[in-house]
């Protein structure tokens, strides 16, 4: 499990580094839409690295990876993320003419799904606070 976490950290850092290099190489002219995709990748990479560090700290403390509370959050946020993702793909399909090509739509959709997952988790936790 520790190896998995370490791999997550390395992947996150590598991803972030790659984005930095890509931006640097293309610094002359970056289209706004591509810049937004890079930004999204960067945000997701930072979140994944921070999350991995938090998990590693908890693992050192001897806390279990998941318990009944985290499962409760997981099921709830999974449902929210599924519904939100369906709407996201619908909107991407409806506004497909605004995108340069199909790769941008699919890539952006996949990245947005990750972001939606994170937001759903936060929402599910907040909802439990209000229950």
């Amino acid at each position: 499990m520790k190896t998995k976490r370490a791999l997550l950290v390395i992947t996150g850092l590598a991803l972030f580094f790659s984005v930095g290099v890509l931006i640097y190489l293309q610094m002359t002219e970056i289209p706004t839409k591509i810049m937004l995709v890079y930004l999204l990748i960067g945000v997701l990479a930072i979140i994944s690295v921070l999350y991995a560090f938090k998990k590693m700290k908890e693992e050192k403390e001897g806390q279990p990876k998941e318990d009944e509370f985290t499962n409760h959050i997981k099921y709830k946020s999974g449902y929210y993320a599924y519904v939100a993702s369906m709407y996201m793909w619908l909107f991407l399909f409806l506004f497909r003419s605004y995108f340069p090509d199909i790769e941008t739509i699919v890539g952006g959709g996949v990245l947005l799904s990750g972001l939606i997952g994170f937001i759903s988790k936060t929402m599910a936790k907040r909802e439990i606070y209000e229950e």
Binding site: E58, E66, D67, F69, T70, I128, E131
Partner: protein, 65 residues
Amino acid sequence: MKNRIKELRARNNFTQLELAQKVNVRRETIVFLEKGKYNPSLKLAYDISNLFKKKIEEVFLFDDD
């Protein structure tokens, strides 16, 4: 549902982390439980009560509402 986890934990000199480790849950779960923002499963309620050598109804206070 209210509970006396915080009070009993302090009385037994447990930190949140120690209590979490003893009942095999994450610290975050104890935080939410103490704030009364999460209702535990019957098993977790039993484990916590058992740890403090109390009955479930002495630790978890059920409202009629």
